[in-house]
């Protein structure tokens, strides 16, 4: 599988360059002469038991994260090649539960709302076909989850923005106390409330068209991949049935061979082939699960993409609200200052009915409004910046995501074809043996 390492922005071409200016620039950009390159893998999974938050006994799985640092020294002599040293020490390792991965991801989601954050492998097995266990403790499921978690870490660690995050580094290197550090960032308070986000979606007036298109696309991606996965699981289930029934041939042919003289050997060998054929489906379908996992990743990615679009709707909506609020305050101010009523208001009406208020009160109110207007203008400036920054950064990451998606999925489809071919070859070989049914 892929092993992209953390390799933020130094490209190989720079090492080979003789131009001192180029290297200096990059050194300034990095801020250091040492580039940390880290190899990451999720090596193992183990069962543990312990008491949970409500003091009940539970069993869970922990995953071993191994990291190894490479130290790269850029020598001052520019014509010489870069020297690499692997660190003398053995890989660092620590154990993490799935829930800790979730916590990390939630942190990233809140902290980088303009990034399409890579998804975690599914919490519970979905799109199961009948044989595949829906049990979280099933060894095949645990193994596939291990691979999925490793894939998640590698995706995050190779992301140009996410890979620099300190909390991520802590997650990979500090086993104890990591949770406290995450909570201390206060990210949970920064999370957008669902209600606010939903309200924004309905009430926003001028969202960026591109983001709306992207949101629509994310819906499509989600619906198409889930339909595909569901259909594939049903096909797998049926195929399993076909192969296994052939196993019944195996038994009958063997028994039949016992009562035949001339045909006996042929029947016997046919029986064996049928047994082998029936047994071969398990490996075939297990391999196909990896293909399904690749598609599932993008099913979940669709959700992440939609989240970025919704964040845009929210920032845009807040900007619109702030602008609207400022306008109305300015209008109120104008009314009070000039006495001209432009719009209907209850205050105005009660004034008419019960008489105007005293001049001091009016002055106080005008002053207050002026303060509020000043605040409001700051707010609008803030929100504008927030909105524009989000649009800019999100657009960049969405493009990056699109390219990654096209490349990965095309590869997945090709691998699927390769899988089918190898399956056909294997089966063909086993059933076309010349001694079948005897000479």
């Amino acid at each position: 599988s892929i092993h992209p390492s953390i390799y933020p922005s130094i490209h190989l071409s720079i090492y080979l360059s003789n131009d001192p200016n180029v290297l200096q620039r990059s050194m300034v950009e990095e801020g250091s002469t040492l580039v940390r390159r880290m190899e990451i893998c999720v090596a193992e999974a183990e069962k543990r038991s312990g008491k949970n938050a409500v003091n009940m006994q539970e069993t869970f799985t922990v995953y071993l994260i191994e990291t190894r640092c490479f130290a790269i020294c850029i020598s001052s002599c520019l014509t010489s090649a870069v020297h690499e040293f692997t660190s003398a020490f053995s890989p660092d390792s620590l154990w993490r539960r799935y829930s800790e991965f979730e916590l990390l991801r939630n942190y990233l989601l809140v902290t980088y709302p303009y990034i399409v954050v890579p998804p975690l492998p599914e919490k519970r097995a979905e799109f199961v076909w009948h044989k595949l266990s829906a049990d979280n403790m099933d060894p095949d499921f645990v193994e596939r989850r291990r691979i999925g978690l490793e894939n998640f870490l590698l995706r995050v660690a190779s992301h140009p923005v996410l890979s620099n995050d300190k909390i991520l580094h802590h997650f990979l290197t500090e086993e104890h106390g990591w949770k406290e550090v995450v909570y201390e960032t206060g990210f949970q308070a920064k999370a957008d409330s669902r209600i606010r986000a939903l309200s924004a979606t309905f009430r926003v007036r001028n969202p960026d068209k591109r983001f709306m298109e992207m949101k629509h696309y994310s819906d499509q991606l989600q619906s198409h991949t889930s339909q595909l996965l569901r259909a594939r699981a049903r096909v797998a289930d049926r195929l399993y049935g076909v192969y296994k029934v052939h196993g019944n041939y195996g038994r009958v042919f063997s028994e039949w061979s016992a009562i035949e003289k001339e045909m006996g050997d042929g029947l016997q060998s046919a029986g064996h082939h049928m047994d082998a054929y029936a047994a071969s489906i398990d490996d075939i379908l297990e391999e196909e699960e990896h293909y399904a996992d690749q598609l599932k990743e993008y099913l979940f990615y669709a959700e992440a993409l939609r989240a970025v679009c919704r964040k845009h709707e929210l920032t845009q909506f807040e900007l619109e609200m702030a602008s609207q609020d400022l306008i109305s305050k300015k209008q109120q101010h104008e009314e009070l200052a000039t006495g001209i009523v432009r719009t209907f208001s209850f205050k105005g009406m009660t004034n008419k009915l019960f008489g105007q208020e005293a001049p001091e009160q009016r002055e106080a109110r005008i002053k207050l409004l002026e303060e509020l207007i000043a605040e409001g203008e700051d707010t609008v400036k803030e929100k504008t910046v927030e909105c524009e920054e989000h649009v800019e950064r999100a657009w960049v990451d969405m493009q990056r995501f699109k390219e990654q998606k096209d490349k990965d999925l095309r590869e997945a489809l090709i691998n699927y074809a390769v899988m089918q071919i190898s399956m056909c070859k294997k089966v063909e070989k086993s059933i076309s043996a010349p001694e079948l049914f005897g000479a």
């Binding site: 892929i2 992209p4 390492s5 390799y7 190779s158 696309y217 499509q220 991606l221 198409h224 991949t225 339909q227 595909l228 259909a231 594939r232 049903r234 096909v235 289930d237 049926r238 195929l239 049935g241 076909v242 029934v245 052939h246 019944n248 041939y249 009958v252 042919f253 028994e255 039949w256 009562i259 035949e260 001339e262 045909m263 042929g266 046919a270 390219e403 990654q404 998606k405 096209d406 490349k407 999925l409 095309r410 590869e411 489809l413 090709i414 699927y416 074809a417 089918q420 071919i421 056909c424 070859k425 089966v427 063909e428 059933i431 076309s432 010349p434 079948l436 049914f437 005897g438 000479a439």
Partner: protein, 421 residues
């Protein structure tokens, strides 16, 4: 009783039977003795089975067949009382017993039933090939459904061919009448009446209730084999039906699966082309699966079904042989006990003893003949199925390989040597 249609040189016919003649069918297409690794290529088997039915008969013709029969052209026949199907039966022969060298008659299913029951009556211990069943219960196939009629026609054709290559049965007078008489009804009315036939059955039952003194070892072994064979062939038949069912359900799901790729392609740009490619591959594999199911239904299922029916025929033959022996033993015992009318009874007993011997010989001879025939037929069907399976995987492989080619041929702009992957 029996004996009218058995040729005088009965035993001569039995000795003439050369087992190897049937096996020659295979050795004709093999490369022998030189130790070639594949003495029987599946394709030669397949070709045998797949050829037009006339050619199939010619291939089986190792010893100059002199009579060829075919069943075709089913037509609906309507009368005031009923509607039924008439089949055309064409005979070509050089035998002198026949007045002409070509005959064409129309027969209905009931006529075939008549012929078979006559043959069984006259040759109680010969193995007469079974007829397709009256009607199929499961699946509730309509009697006039095209598939049903075609399946039946093929089975009737096989039945007549099996009779025509049988060294004894093909010389049956009833067979000749069946093939040549313009109108069969008048002939059907002749022969032992209903009541006398009833009487025979009652006697047979009575005798079997008495039980056999001692069945010769060889027939006991035969009985055991028949019981085992019956179990096994029924199991294979059941498994095959089940496989077809599972394959059909698999095919249904495949048909739902390929559109999910094309639908997805609709919302993609770069990915649209490979997605459509995969959709087409899945679709084409579905077509191959459909063909495979067809082949199973048309080649393996009928062959297995025939031998399921054969197993029942064999059981009936064993029973009849036992009855003949039982009848003799009963009379023989009577002879030993009663002192009355010894002479007449002795003659009867002698006659029955001969009958037993004839019956045993007939069965013995026909037994190995039947076994060879069974092995040939089933081997052919199995090999054809295996060959079809291989073809299925070869086709699917080609489908996916052409997709791969189409993908690899595209200029890949993604290979820019970035770190990731």
């Amino acid at each position: 009783m029996s004996g009218q249609t058995v040729p005088a040189d009965f035993s001569g016919h039995m000795l003439d039977l050369d087992e190897d003649e049937d096996l020659e069918v295979f050795s004709k297409n093999t490369s022998l003795a030189d130790g070639s690794p594949m003495p029987n290529s599946p394709s030669s088997m397949v070709n045998q089975y797949r050829l037009e039915e006339e050619e199939e008969e010619q291939q089986q013709d190792a010893n100059a067949r002199d009579i060829f029969v075919s069943v075709d052209n089913p037509e609906s026949h309507v009368t005031a009382i009923e509607t039924f199907i008439m089949y055309r039966v064409v005979t070509k022969t050089t035998r002198s017993e026949f007045d002409s060298s070509e005959f064409e008659v129309r027969r209905r299913y009931q006529d075939f039933l008549w012929l078979r029951s006559r043959l069984e009556e006259n040759h109680p211990t010969l193995i007469v090939h079974p007829l397709p069943e009256k009607f199929v219960m499961k699946g509730m196939v309509e009697r006039f459904n095209d598939d049903f009629i075609e399946t039946r026609r093929k089975a009737l054709h096989r039945f007549l061919n099996k009779i025509s290559v049988h060294p004894i049965l093909s010389y049956s007078q009833h067979f000749k009448v069946f093939l040549t008489a313009e109108e069969l009804m008048s002939h059907r009315k002749q022969g032992p009446g209903f009541l006398s036939r009833m009487g025979e059955t009652v006697r047979a039952v009575a005798n079997s209730v008495r039980g056999l003194r001692s069945r010769p070892e060889e027939f006991t072994l035969m009985q055991e084999y028949v019981d085992d064979f019956s179990n096994k062939i029924c199991s294979v038949d059941k498994v095959t039906q089940r496989i077809i069912k599972e394959q059909r359900e698999y095919l249904d799901e495949l048909k739902q699966y390929s559109p999910t790729y094309s639908q997805w392609a609709g919302s993609e740009e770069e990915l649209a082309e490979p997605l459509r490619g995969v959709a087409s591959c899945v679709e084409r594999c579905g077509l191959e699966t459909e063909e495979q199911i067809q082949h199973l239904s048309q080649v393996l299922v009928p062959a297995l079904h025939e031998y399921v029916l054969c197993a029942e025929t064999l059981k009936a033959v064993m029973r009849r042989r036992d009855n003949i022996q039982a009848e003799f033993e009963a009379k023989n015992e009577a002879l030993a006990s009663r002192r009355v009318d010894q002479e007449a009874l002795q003659e009867e007993v002698d006659g029955l003893a001969d009958r037993v011997e004839l019956a045993n010989n007939a069965l013995r001879g026909d037994w190995s003949r039947w076994q060879n025939s069974m092995r040939t037929d089933l081997k052919t069907a199995f090999l054809s199925t295996a060959e079809k399976n291989v073809e299925y995987y070869e086709q699917c492989l080609a489908v996916w390989e052409s997709f791969l080619l189409s993908q690899r041929a595209e200029p890949s702009e993604q290979n820019d040597g970035e770190d990731a992957s």
